[in-house]
């Protein structure tokens, strides 16, 4: 029998992991992205490198994703 409160807490933790990291990544990308677009207005050849720099903060949300996947698919089943 799965403990309902425990399962709920795991699911909630997974939600927090993905949403907070997503939020954080978006703040980071906002800053870098607007600067990158500024550079692209000057030099269109910057697109590739601009894209690279813009998506660097995205690793945060990827970590969050991995954490929540592990919570949902490893931690949650191990409760029961």
């Amino acid at each position: 029998m799965v403990d309902p409160i425990g399962a709920g807490l795991v699911a909630l933790s997974a939600a927090i992991a993905i949403s907070v990291t997503g939020w954080a990544a978006s703040i980071g990308e906002q800053v870098v992205g607007s600067a990158a677009i500024g550079v692209m207005a000057e030099d269109e050849g910057f697109f590739g490198r601009g894209l690279v720099m813009t998506v660097i903060p995205e690793s945060i949300v990827i970590f969050g994703l991995v954490v929540s996947l592990i919570l949902l698919f490893v931690a949650l089943p191990s409760l029961g």
């Binding site: 050849g45 894209l51 690279v52 991995v66 996947l69 698919f73």
Partner: protein, 637 residues
């Protein structure tokens, strides 16, 4: 295929008397990439452009202004090429005549337009008064009467000022149009009252007759003017039809002549000689030498400059890939052109890009849509780079379908098997994504490890060629060791950690840790302590590939939600609701396809640019731009 086209540095030199002929010869062959001369000193000066430049640009300006009046954009197709000789003979006379004719017609059109505007203004003023049926001359010229004609909110309430008035009102817009006649001595009071009701006077045009009759007249005039304007526009269209070939061809001719006349600005010259530094694709070298010999009777020489080989940064880059991988060049160029001694990653992207895209989209239905869109775009759109992207889309669509079969997905639903849409078809062991999240997570991370290793191997080759074996081992083998040692160690540590049993110190674990340590030491030796800063990057690079799974299941999830919603809300009710259900399916899946293409496309690109390219690719090459012109509208004589 794996490298940019081979280039040879050449020095073209000769007497100034032959400079014009040499320019023509180079221009015609269209292969010499001129390196602009910039370092002037006492002996060598930057060349002077030919005097005919100013005349050429004057002609070009008048021609382009005519072209813009005739809305010729310069991209139109014409059936036959124009001979250059014919242009040279007639350009001045024809341009002058054309200028005269076009100006006449456009002046005429703008005059008609101003008259139309004038009439429309008058109509706007008279429109409110047309139901009053009072000739215009009765609104003015009284000695004892004040007249208010205008618009007002509500009806005029002036009975407390005087009862001695005449008023006509008619609903107009949100309020009323009024014509109010009061004795002159009440004028100020009445005006004040009216202004409280947002009175706006209508300035009446100086015309005779009732507004109704005048309006009929004006309308007749408008029709007449419109047909006149139409006639002039037809004249303009006739002119366009008649001269479009001449204009396009002459514009091209002038561009070519201007480029040729300005070419000496890129040369080094002395009092009597000129020298051009440049690059020629090695395959075309003999061709250029022969051209120059023939044209100048050996008076201008094309010599190979061996000293240029050392300076790889300055070699212009022309990518040379076989036909199937050429479309991917657009994506490489969007990042940066390779340096001359760097591997051109285009060929590898032919596999990896569609593979990653297909893995994310992974749906037979969406894959078919992607292919259909790609074919449609390449049929309809002429732009080279967009067509290239469409071809990339075609490859990506094929991979999406392949993965669609593996995941058994068709517009978010199962296609084959006892729960699928086609129950009668053999049920093969598919891997539905939503049921195999953890397995697929491991698979995507392993794809990441393989792709990164491949990147490091390419990086090893680059480093080896640029800086030698030792450097290549320090900077690339170190990372490969840490990557694989780390993967092995984590693979052995993680399972016992999750199940809660203790970690066994097995031979594999020791080996993994040892390999990782060797890599770490190599890195420290090669790059110093600074190298440690980059270590977490390797972990995030690998984890980054988990997006292959997450993008995939989110697209599947949305597709599934659309199907379930349309079933629960509409199809289950039957009757007319089925139409709504179909509508929801079409709109929902269209949106999901668009999201899927955009997201999978960008994320696959990102995995290349950020994770893959950074392991071996610096870029920063100069684009190969040969001195010449690919003629579209003219032909030489």
């Amino acid at each position: 295929m794996f490298e940019p086209q081979a280039m040879t540095k050449v020095i073209i030199a000769g007497s100034k008397d032959y400079m014009g002929i040499a320019i023509d010869a180079m221009y015609k062959r269209d292969v010499v990439h001129i390196a602009d001369f910039a370092d002037e000193d006492e002996d060598f000066k930057i060349g002077k452009p030919y005097a005919r430049v100013s005349q050429l640009s004057e002609r070009a300006i008048s021609l382009r202004s005519i072209a813009s009046y005739l809305s010729i954009k310069g991209k139109e197709d014409i059936p036959n090429k124009y001979s250059e000789r014919a242009i040279i003979d007639t350009i001045d006379e024809k341009t002058q005549r054309l200028d005269f004719e076009v100006t006449q017609v456009t002046d005429n059109i703008s005059e008609i337009e101003s008259r139309i505007k004038d009439i429309n203004d008058k109509k706007r003023l008279l429109e409110p008064l047309k139901s009053f049926d009072l000739p215009l001359n009765l609104y003015r010229g009284y000695r004892s009467l004040a007249v208010f004609v205008g618009t007002l909110k509500g009806s005029p309430t002036i009975s407390d000022i005087t009862n001695d008035y005449e008023v006509e009102t008619v609903p107009y817009g949100r309020g009323q149009a009024i014509a109010l006649f009061v004795p002159k001595n009440f004028e100020d009071d009445v005006l004040k009252r009216l202004q409280e009701q947002s009175y706006a006077a209508l300035p009446l045009p100086e015309m005779e007759g009732t507004p109704r009759d005048i309006l009929v007249d004006l309308d007749a005039k408008l029709t007449e003017l419109a047909s006149e304007k139409h006639k002039s526009e037809e004249e303009l269209a006739d002119l366009r039809q008649q001269y479009i070939e001449f204009i396009l061809a002459s514009d091209e001719y002038l561009s070519i002549e201007t480029q040729k006349a300005e070419a000496p600005l890129r040369f080094a010259t002395t009092k009597n000689a000129f020298i051009v530094e440049g690059w020629v694709p090695t395959n075309d070298l003999e061709l250029v030498q022969r051209d120059m010999d023939d044209a100048t009777n050996g008076h201008v020489i094309v010599a190979v400059d061996k000293s240029g080989d050392a300076d790889v940064d300055k070699v212009p880059i022309a990518l040379s890939n076989p036909m199937p991988s050429r479309p991917l060049e657009v994506l490489v160029k969007a990042f940066s052109l390779p340096k001359y001694n760097e591997i051109d990653p285009t060929t590898f992207m032919v596999f990896w890009y569609p593979f990653l895209f297909g893995l994310m989209l992974g749906d037979i239905g969406y894959g078919v849509v992607v292919i259909a869109l790609a074919i449609l775009v390449s049929r309809r759109i002429k732009s080279q780079s967009i067509r290239a992207l469409a071809t990339v889309g075609l490859y990506a669509g094929v991979f999406s379908i392949i993965f669609g079969f593996i995941f058994n997905e068709f517009f978010g639903a199962e296609l084959f098997g006892h729960k699928g849409l086609l129950t009668f078809v053999y049920e093969y062991p598919a891997i539905p994504r939503l049921d195999n999240v953890l397995t697929l997570l491991v698979v995507t991370l392993m794809i990441g490890v393989i792709m990164l290793t491949f990147g490091f191997v390419l990086g090893f080759i680059n480093e080896y060629r640029q800086h030698g074996l030792k450097h290549a081992v320090y900077t690339k083998v170190s990372w490969i060791c840490m990557l694989w040692g780390g993967v092995l160690a984590i693979a052995l540590i993680l399972p016992p950690l999750t199940t809660g049993s203790g970690i066994q110190l097995s031979a594999g674990l020791v080996a993994g840790l040892a390999v990782a340590l060797v890599g770490f030491v190599l890195l420290i030796v090669g790059e110093g302590v600074v190298g440690i800063v980059e270590l977490p990057g390797l972990l995030s690079n690998v984890l980054s590939y988990s997006r292959l799974l997450s993008i995939g299941i989110s697209s599947t999830g949305i597709g599934l939600a659309i199907n379930r919603l349309s079933e629960a809300l509409f199809f289950s009710k039957g009757g007319v609701f089925i139409i709504f259900g179909v509508l929801l399916l079409i709109v929902g899946h269209a949106v999901n396809t668009a999201l899927g293409i955009l997201d999978s496309g960008l994320q696959a690109l990102r995995l290349h640019y950020v994770e893959f390219f950074t392991k071996f690719y610096n870029g920063g090459g100069i684009k190969y731009e040969p001195f010449g012109f690919s003629r579209k509208y003219t032909e030489e004589q």
